[in-house]
């Protein structure tokens, strides 16, 4: 035994208060978790279960990328453990990988233990998602510019102004006051009919200031081809896209309305339920959907009051005879919309023998028109980003 005395250092509350030494590392770790979610957002978004959930809903998101990898033994490595009592050969003591972890004290790092899930609300997820969308300038302008509207507001009175804004009542009152004040002034000038005259100083004008008011109404026009060729998979992809668009606009505007337009050879406005679930048959006139959209806009959503976002999903299987009309209507739509997009949904492999509208819409040159090609669910997020991106790029 060493000769020197054992030292006891007392507890000091001051040190304890200061001792949150891991705060910095915890912060870094949390940033990592967030970053990991962001990097995997395309996969997470592609999960069917998320689409259509309400925003308060908590979602489990598997966290990857912050595992601490090392060289470890894999599944075929046997281990030794203690039983509670007698054990027999062949007895099953747990499940491989995941539940029923055995050998908690096996040396080395256990893969799998490091893997965990975190709970995020859809709200947070969307926030992370859109945080990642570095909104390009043009797009930001497009979001805001139309959001501003001129209105006028009365603000006090002036003695100069436009004749139309003359406040007669106040002018007369000013004159009456002046006349009363001048009672004792002899020989006050009168007009030729003996009346007390108006003076320049009596004239009172309403002062009006113009006001920039942010208009925060937006409408999302979801236009979808519901012809016979649109199967469930295609509709699901379209739905994911509309979902993102809607969620995105909800974060940007106070009041977002959504209009569903389904079309085959004719178009009609439908409910959400009908939009996604009711299959129809027949051919396709894309122009019909656009015409319907224009009608709806004319009737209810005047472009001076509403920010209009229109997106159309189709498999591109349009009747040739309709192509010119479709292009024309698309041009019209592009003129009044903030953003107008066309998404061609062609699950992998099918695009080589089907007709495509992408080539035709390539001829439509408007800054706020964008075409995207969606082949599988992983494409939805990149396509969405492309849709909002500044430069116009034709889908490859």
């Amino acid at each position: 035994m060493a000769t020197s005395e054992t030292v006891f250092r007392p507890f000091r509350a001051v040190d304890a208060g200061r001792s949150d030494r891991s705060a910095g590392d915890r912060l870094r770790h949390r940033q990592k978790v967030r970053q990991s979610i962001r990097e995997n957002i395309a996969d997470i978004i592609a999960e069917e279960s998320i689409i259509g959930k309400d925003r308060e809903r908590i979602i489990k998101v598997p966290i990857r990328g912050i595992k601490e990898y090392r060289f470890v033994y894999g599944d075929n490595a046997p281990g030794v453990a203690q039983g509670a009592g007698d054990v027999e050969r062949g007895q099953v003591i747990g499940k491989a990988e995941g539940s029923g972890q055995t050998g908690q004290d096996r040396a080395g790092d256990q893969p799998g233990v490091d893997y965990y899930e975190t709970d995020v609300t859809l709200e947070e997820l969307i926030e992370i998602m859109f945080e990642d969308l570095e909104l390009p300038d043009l797009e930001r302008k497009r979001l805001r510019e139309l959001a501003a509207e001129r209105t006028s507001r009365r603000k006090g009175y002036r003695q100069v102004g436009l004749r139309v804004r003359l406040d007669k009542r106040r002018t007369v009152r000013a004159k009456v006051k002046r006349r009363l004040a001048s009672r004792h002034v002899p020989d006050h000038p009168r007009d030729d009919r003996g009346r007390f005259p108006f003076h320049q100083d009596d004239l009172t004008y309403r002062h009006v200031v113009t006001d920039l008011k942010r208009e925060s109404n937006a409408v999302v026009l979801c236009i979808m081809d519901t012809s016979g060729s649109m199967d469930t998979m295609k509709k699901y992809l379209a739905r994911s896209f509309f979902f993102l668009l809607y969620q995105f606009l909800v974060t940007r505007y106070q009041n977002v309305e959504i209009v569903f337009i389904a079309h085959h050879t004719q178009a009609r406005e439908v409910t959400e339920e009908e939009f996604f679930h009711r299959g129809e048959s027949g051919g396709t006139f894309i122009s019909s959907g656009y015409q319907k959209a224009l009608e709806v806009i004319a009737a209810r959503y005047h472009p001076s009051l509403w920010n209009i976002y229109a997106f159309h999903c189709s498999d591109g299987d349009n009747f040739d005879s309709d192509n010119q009309l479709a292009l024309r209507s698309a041009r019209e739509l592009a003129e009044i919309c903030n953003l107008f997009g066309y998404g061609e949904i062609k699950p992998l492999g099918s695009r080589y023998y089907e007709t495509s509208m992408l080539n035709i819409f390539r001829r439509l040159e408007a800054d706020n028109f964008q075409t995207v090609l969606i082949e599988r669910k992983e494409d939805v997020w990149p396509s969405f980003r492309a849709f909002l991106a500044k430069e116009r790029q034709t889908a490859s």
Binding site: M1, A2, S4, T6, V7, F8, R9, P10, F11, D15, A16, S19, D20, R21, S22, G24, D25, R26, R28, H29, R30, Q31, K32, K67, E68, Y69, R70, F71, V72, Y73, G74, N76, A77, P78, G79, V80, A81, Q82, G83, A84, D86, V87, E88, R89, G90, V92, I93, G94, K95, A96, E97, G100, T102, G103, Q104, D105, R106, A107, G108, P111
Partner: protein, 477 residues
């Protein structure tokens, strides 16, 4: 918290405990205790007990994990946390009852003695422990604050270095050979062996060894090898690799002696407390606490329990052997205590279990070997007459550093392409492929060029390669 106590009371109990420590012949470093609250304890745990340590997000993660488990009551905090340093440093949680503090103090002296005397810890230089961890911390912080480096780059490198920090030499009591000694070794190995029948045998041709090869003999210290042979690394990067390597080396003896060390401390706290003549109330609490510590984990392996049973059995076999055992030991056997002290100095978990875990004891501990079969984990061997050797072999393969795959650098310039060629010494256990792939990507980051790892996958010799284009694997002939 039945008993109110203060530092003075703790000091009095400590004096009584130290009397026992001395009487039993334990040989300790000077000891320091620090009282802390549970938040500080969580903080110490996240940083392996070190009062100062370099920052890295993984410690934040460790903290969150510990805190979550603690907050939800899944796991309590350890009663004791002691650092292998001279003087040894241990923490006492101030919310613990007096009995727990006494138990902890006694337990800590057991660890202290073990740190000072076990041969594995000779390499750790305990008098510099706290200082060097602190110096590491300030160096890493300086790199983070350096505007030309910054936290992103430091983390980028530390993430990679942590992944292979335990890929290093295991027996640190054996000195690492110098370059010159390695050269001599290669030259000697190239000489044909002495042949007593030279006159009738044809003389074997002398094959000149390739002395330009790097490394001359396979090298297990991956981080140091990369530090010394990747000339594209900057000084700060080399320093970070050194820091990570040194910290890993410091902890290897603890990994290698987990069962022995915990068993030893538990054995002594029991003997010390049994001799303290505690008041009845405390004695009862002691029995409860002690049994909590040494209860077996069903389907796990509690090092406190296994270790304690081994030490107790060892003493019994020398002090009160059965007639068979006495015969086996011979007439001039050491006393139990002598034997204990000898073993605590000269063994590590692997040799400790190999030499002292008997067939009977294995059965008493209800040990069994398991293996994954399809979906399930199935018990494959139990310690009966046929199975006990196999169970023991499997156990030995999993204790200490043997739970970590052995990987050597074979060639730093494979095929003259500056590819780092590594070989995994396969012992029947395959690597976890996803982990291997990710770890190779970290090695690629450190080596800054292609990395190849030779291993065995499902019985086939395979080469896992990580290049600029990513991961690939192919079967070797």
């Amino acid at each position: 918290m039945a008993t109110v106590y203060d530092i003075k009371v703790l000091g009095e109990w400590d004096a009584r405990i130290r009397e026992q420590v001395q009487a039993f012949g334990l040989d300790c470093f000077p000891q320091e205790f620090e009282l802390c609250d549970h938040n500080q304890m969580l903080g110490y745990m996240a940083y392996s007990g070190m009062p100062s340590h370099y920052p890295h997000w993984s410690y934040g993660k460790a903290y969150e994990k510990l805190k979550t488990l603690y907050d939800y009551g899944v796991s309590g905090l350890p009663y004791e946390m002691v650092i292998n340093a001279n003087p040894a440093l241990a923490y006492l949680m101030r919310d613990n009852s007096l009995l727990l503090q006494i138990l902890t103090i006694a337990h800590v002296y057991g660890h202290n003695d073990f740190f000072k005397n076990n041969f594995n810890f000779r390499s750790t230089r305990p008098e510099f422990t706290l200082g060097s961890f602190k110096a590491h911390g300030s160096r890493v912080r300086a790199y983070i604050e350096d505007p030309s480096i910054g936290i992103e780059r430091v983390e980028h490198l530390l993430d990679a270095a942590h992944a292979v920090s335990l890929q290093c030499r295991r027996n640190l009591a054996v000195r690492k050979r110098t370059a010159e000694e390695e050269r001599q070794q290669v030259l000697e190995a190239a000489q044909p062996p002495d042949d007593p029948f030279q006159s009738i045998h044809r003389r074997r041709a002398y094959v000149e060894p390739d002395l330009r090869r790097v490394p001359l003999v396979p090298d297990a210290d991956l981080l140091l090898f990369i530090r010394d042979h990747n000339r594209y690394l900057g000084d700060w990067e080399k320093d970070l690799l050194t820091i990570v390597h040194e910290e890993a080396q410091y902890f290897i003896p603890q990994i290698e002696t987990k069962i022995m060390n915990e068993g030893w401390a538990t054995y002594w706290h029991k003997r010390i407390l049994d001799n303290l003549r505690l008041p009845a109330e405390m004695q009862l609490e002691f029995i409860v606490r002690h049994n909590q510590v040494v209860r077996p984990f069903p389907q796990g392996l509690n090092p406190y329990h296994v270790g304690l049973r081994l030490w107790e059995d060892l003493r019994r076999r020398y002090d009160e052997p059965t007639s068979e055992e006495a015969e086996a030991l011979g007439p001039t056997r050491p006393t139990g205590t002598q034997q204990l002290f000898e073993v605590r100095e000269a063994d590590r978990d692997v040799s400790f279990l190999r030499r002292h875990l008997t067939e009977t004891l294995m059965r008493e501990l209800h040990l069994f070997a398991y293996e994954p079969k399809g979906e399930d984990i199935v018990i494959t061997k139990v310690p009966d007459k046929d199975g006990w050797r196999d169970v023991k072999e499997t156990l030995l393969k999993n204790v200490g550093m043997r739970g970590i795959p052995v990987i050597h650098v074979q060639d730093a310039d494979y095929n003259h392409t500056r590819t780092l060629y590594l070989v995994h010494a396969h012992d029947g256990r395959d690597l976890h492929l996803e982990y291997a792939e990710k770890t190779l990507s970290y090695l690629h980051r450190l080596w800054q060029h292609d990395v190849a790892l030779e291993t065995v996958v499902n019985g086939r010799r395979s080469l896992l390669v990580f290049t600029d284009r990513g991961f690939s694997s192919k079967a070797l002939k």
